[in-house]
Every structure is written in structure tokens, then in C-alpha cells.
Amino acid sequence: MKISAIITLKKDVLDPQGKVIHQTLEDMNFKNVNEVRQGKYFEIDVKENDPKKAKEIVEDMCEKLLANLVIENYKIIEIQ
């Protein structure tokens, strides 16, 4: 079963890459942007058919490796 996880920086953490992207968008005439925050996206094919269990496994992965919880949050966004 395929599970997706999105890792985003927490609100208070500076995101210089996001700022540069925001600036570039403005320079390209996208004037309607408030803020850009860059994150990471994972698609993990888990050897588990029960959606609840598969989600729990990916949550555990996020807690232990995929995210650093000092600066990042994670969200399981999709179950196929």
C-alpha cells in the first residue's frame, strides 16, 4: 500500500530557500504571494494492506527518521 508523507518546517523556523523562491516569484511578476515555505514529500510503498497499520508504520518512520521534530512537522496526506 502506498502512503505519502509531507514534511514541512515549523512556523518559527527560518526558511531561507523559501524566501529566495518567494523573491524569484515576485521578480517573475507573481505579485500575489504572501509567503513560500519549502518542504519534502515522500511516497512510500509499504508491505502492508491494512490502511490503518500502513499509516502507523509511516508515522513511526517520520518520528524516527524522515522528520526532525525539533524543526519539522509531518503530515500523512494520502492513502491509496
Binding site: D12, V13, L14, P16, V20, N68, V70, I71
Partner: protein, 227 residues
């Protein structure tokens, strides 16, 4: 005194560290990341470099490698563990020292000499050093130290800041902060003061012909402290 330097795939300061430790009298062994057992050591060093190509987050993959469980146990039993640059990034990922190292504030790779001020000498690394201000070299893309407000308070309350970025006169101000680190922090100790993580490279300052001697002072003093 026996030391061990751990080599991860992508480490590139491991041999420099080996040269530095041997120059000042350590009997050093190189240890491969995939080994299970740490040789008997008085000091373990996690060297600089780009372990696992900095994939995922700098140091995150190396922090889960086989040898690290032994290193963590060694640190938790009071053994001296020092992480330089990528080694510092690995240490924060293990949780042995608090905080994280983010991308440099101005998104550039910084490679130059800096001055750092030793804040706390009540530890095996800096005890008995006569100087407070050291000129050392930095070379990193992710050295921007960050921690939560609560962590910062705890770090300050427990005197865990090891070194700050400063100018040659020891002034700790934002203009002497190369990478955006919170409060100009360049190195951190754990609560028990046996684990040290820092971005500057003392092993690159051990020869007056090539660079400088401030690293020599550090290593000589370290050896005397743990003899």
C-alpha cells in the same frame, strides 16, 4: 591515550583528524561505520565531511549507522565524544546534543577562518586553556545552529554553550556571525559536558606553515586533560 575516528561513507576530514590526533600523542584507530564494536577509547571523534551525501538531512543517515549505537552507549556512560562539522550534525541527529543545524542564513557555502570565544571551560575539552579566543577554520553549508526557546533556556541554564562566533577581540555580535546561528553559537556541549559538537575545524589549524596553531593548543590541552 587512545582515540577512535569514525569514517562514514562521504567523510572527508577523517584522515586530517587522524593526523592531528597522532601528531599530539593520541594512539588513534580508524573505525568503519559498519562495525558494531568500538575499540577501547578515551576519545571518539565524528569527523567532518558529507556523510551519505547529506541525503535527507545532514548527518541524519549516519546517525542511524551500525557503529553509532556503540558511540551513543559510550557517550551515555560518560565517554568523551567530539563531533566536528558534519560530526556535529550527526551528534544533533542522535539527540546527544540539543538543537539542529539548518542551512546557512544566506544560502552560501562558507569556507574561511573565523574567531570563536570559549564560553565554558568547565569541561574536559577546554579546561586549562590559557587563551579564550581562537582562530579556527569553518567550511560548511549547514552550520546555522537552531533550537527552540525552551531548549535555548535549558542550554544557557546548564552552561552548555561551548563556543561563540566573535571578532578577533572576542566581541560576540551579529556582524561576526557567519551563518545565522542563534546567539552566535558555534559549538554546544551536552548537559554532562562529555559530548562536544562544533562547526569549526581544530584539525585544520595544527601547522604554522599551512594555517595556524590554535588547533595545536586545543589538541595538546585535550590530551593533557584526559591523561
Amino acid at each position: 591515550m587512545k582515540s577512535s575516528v569514525i569514517t562514514f561513507p562521504g567523510s572527508n576530514c577523517d584522515r586530517d583528524m587522524d593526523v592531528a590526533l597522532k601528531k599530539f600523542g593520541f594512539k588513534n584507530k580508524m573505525v568503519w561505520h559498519n562495525d558494531n564494536e568500538l575499540p577501547k577509547s578515551d576519545l571518539v571523534v565524528l569527523p567532518g565531511g558529507f556523510s551519505y551525501g547529506d541525503y535527507l538531512r545532514c548527518g541524519s543517515v549516519a546517525s542511524k549507522s551500525k557503529i553509532m549505537q556503540s558511540v551513543i552507549n559510550f557517550a551515555k556512560s560518560g565517554g568523551l565524544v567530539m563531533g566536528i562539522c558534519n560530526g556535529f550534525q550527526i551528534l544533533v541527529e542522535t539527540g546527544l546534543v540539543p538543537g539542529v543545524l539548518l542551512r546557512n542564513k544566506y544560502l552560501e557555502f562558507i569556507c574561511r577562518n573565523v574567531f570563536v570565544k570559549i564560553d565554558n571551560k568547565d569541561n574536559p575539552y577546554f579546561k586549562n586553556l590559557e587563551k579564550d579566543i581562537f582562530e579556527l577554520h569553518i567550511a560548511h553549508n549547514e552550520g546555522n545552529y537552531f533550537c527552540t526557546g525552551d531548549q535555548l533556556k535549558e542550554i544557557k541554564d546548564n552552561n552548555q554553550v561551548a563556543i561563540y562566533y566573535c571578532n578577533n577581540g572576542g566581541k560576540i555580535e551579529e556582524e561576526f556571525n557567519p551563518n545565522g546561528s542563534i546567539k552566535n553559537i558555534a559549538g554546544i556541549l551536552n548537559k554532562e559536558k562529555n559530548v562536544l559538537g562544533m562547526m569549526p575545524h581544530p584539525e585544520r589549524m595544527i601547522d604554522s606553515c599551512l594555517s595556524g596553531e590554535d588547533g595545536s593548543l586545543f589538541f595538546k590541552n585535550l590530551l593533557n586533560n584526559i591523561k
